[in-house]
């Protein structure tokens, strides 16, 4: 089996706080992996380690290895800018830029040096179509993205991410600020995107994990308690704590 990401013995600290403890996880190509677990268990910190967003925090320290396509992303030779182009991220709260719909999607392309108008037009349309948003916004590409609904904004953020053609898309509770209808649309979108992208989604919603993912990892207090095929985790978990969590006994 081909792995896109291989994490081994990852430890993450913020100051003296030991956030992730000896975490190892292999993530397969072109598949959706769900990370579940109670708040504060380290899921978000984990995915932010994968695109080195934690580097922005002064007190961040880590050891262990994180391989993307067999290359260590924490190697000093790695260009973080290039890495983040390959590993895109969608945040919990939709965060479009206060710019037009078009400029939001074109932004990533422009910062990576694309300036040809025709190419930009084509890529923007392609990305918006891939994010199932094109029909809703094609008439208002020059209008501010801030005027879109929350669900549309989140799909715009997904379009913005896929415009730079990443290999991996990290999603940090992408639906937690959305209504059920918008959530369904995002989930449908994830289903369509998984054939082209490796998706890692953090979610608090158990049903969502079962609906969208093929693999699931259960985090608790900074450790991975159990990981494996989603069906197995949800139907016959090995660990009592996993069972307690998914059946809603805590968390």
């Amino acid at each position: 089996m081909d792995y896109r990401i291989e994490v081994e013995d990852l430890n993450v600290y913020f100051d003296e706080l030991h956030i992730l403890k000896d975490v190892s996880l292999k993530i397969r190509k072109n598949m959706v992996t769900a990370l579940i677990g109670p708040s504060g268990c380290g899921k978000s910190t984990f995915i932010r380690t994968l695109n080195r967003m934690n580097d922005l925090i002064d007190t961040f320290k880590m050891d262990g290895t994180v391989l993307l396509d067999r290359e260590d992303i924490y190697d000093p030779k790695v260009d973080v800018v290039e890495l983040r182009k390959r590993v895109g991220m969608v945040f919990q709260k939709p965060n479009p830029f206060p710019k037009s719909v078009f400029d939001n999607v074109a932004y990533g392309l422009k910062v990576h040096g694309e300036s040809d108008k025709d190419v930009l037009n084509e890529k923007v349309e392609e990305s918006l179509k891939a994010a199932a948003l094109w029909d809703e916004v094609k008439e208002k590409l020059d209008k501010s993205a801030m005027g879109l609904s929350g669900g549309q904004q989140q799909r715009l953020c997904i379009a913005r991410t896929i415009a730079v053609e990443p290999e991996v898309i990290l999603m940090d509770e992408p639906c937690s600020a959305l209504d059920p209808i918008s959530t369904t649309k995002i989930e449908d979108l994830i289903h369509r995107l998984k054939k082209d992208y490796t998706i890692i989604i953090v979610t608090h919603n158990m049903q969502q994990a079962t609906r969208v993912s093929k693999h699931t990892a259960f985090f608790l207090h900074g450790e991975i308690i159990e990981s494996g095929p989603t069906d197995k985790i949800f139907i016959e978990p090995c660990d009592k704590r996993t069972e307690d969590y998914i059946t809603g006994r805590f968390g």
């Binding site: 800018v81 290039e82 890495l83 182009k85 709260k93 965060n95 932004y107 005027g147």
Partner: protein, 282 residues
């Protein structure tokens, strides 16, 4: 607990007090502006606006003073805006917390509370004499730049700082560099606040008499080169009134100055409003 007033009544009383405070503020503003404009309006006509002063300003117009004002204010803003905005971006985005940052901030705060006449004296010693710029629009403009700088810096810093952190996260996560993020996302989002800061700085510069008293000279002719002496409107107004040349023309000059400031404020506010609406999709 024993209460003298019921919450409902104290709520009403406080609301009225706030309402009255607001009303009084607007009233004071209207009285001052109204008084100046009413007193000045009779002497304002096209000739007053577009001709040279005669007999030290006893008669004639104020055209050279309008040009002088535009000249020194423009110099002040051309110098203070890049410095102020640059320092603000540095403080808000790059500096973090440290001694240097604390020192810069302290410096800016102190600078903004120094009386303008001190700036004038400094301008005289430094620009006019030490750098040998003489009494000129350049000396005056640079002195005004020093005055406008802390205002522009403070307003810009607050505005850059208050840009939603999620924007820069979004930008960095797409592989943008810090500089691309600052330049293409943060500064545009902070633009309304930065513009307000520039306008506040301009307000300080355009209406200043004391700081240019010793630096710009008092020439009545239209300044052409940067090294020419000049007489901006506030200085002209000051001279007309203190030397008893013509109180009527002093009011006329004051009214023109007030109207110019009002126009600039209204126009920029409208533009900033429009920009914000477009940006935020309202």
């Amino acid at each position: 607990m024993y209460r003298i007033l019921s919450p409902k009544i104290s709520q009403k009383i406080m609301k009225s007090i706030f309402w009255i405070s607001g009303l009084i503020t607007i009233f004071i503003l209207l009285i001052i502006i109204g008084y100046i404009i009413l007193k000045g309006l009779p002497v304002i006509n096209l000739e007053f606006l577009f001709s040279d002063p005669i007999d030290s300003g006893k008669a004639g117009g104020i055209f050279p003073m309008i040009i002088s004002t535009a000249y020194v204010t423009l110099i002040a803003l051309l110098v203070a805006t890049p410095l102020g905005v640059g320092a603000a971006v540095y403080l808000a985005e790059y500096a973090g917390e440290g001694r240097l940052v604390a020192a810069i901030r302290f410096g800016a705060e102190t600078l903004s509370s120094i009386p303008s006449i001190i700036f004038g004296l400094f301008g005289l010693a430094f620009f006019v004499i030490y750098l040998d710029m003489g009494w000129s629009v350049l000396s005056g403009g640079l002195t005004l730049a020093l005055m406008a700088l802390p205002t522009i810096l403070a307003a810009s810093e607050v505005s850059v700082e208050s840009v939603n952190k999620s924007y820069s996260e979004g930008s960095l996560a797409l592989g943008a560099t810090k500089w691309q993020t600052v330049y293409q996302v943060i500064v545009p989002a902070a633009m309304p606040g930065i513009t307000t800061g520039i306008i506040l700085g301009m307000g300080r510069a355009i209406a200043e008499a004391a700081a240019i008293l010793y630096t710009v000279g008092a020439a009545l002719a239209i300044p052409i080169s940067l090294m020419d002496p000049a007489r901006p409107l506030p200085l002209h107004l000051y001279i007309l009134a203190t030397e008893g040349i013509s109180l009527d023309n002093a009011y006329g000059t004051a009214a023109v100055l007030v109207i110019i400031i009002l126009i600039i404020t209204v126009v920029t506010n409208t533009l900033v409003d429009r920009y914000t609406k477009k940006m935020m999709g309202r």
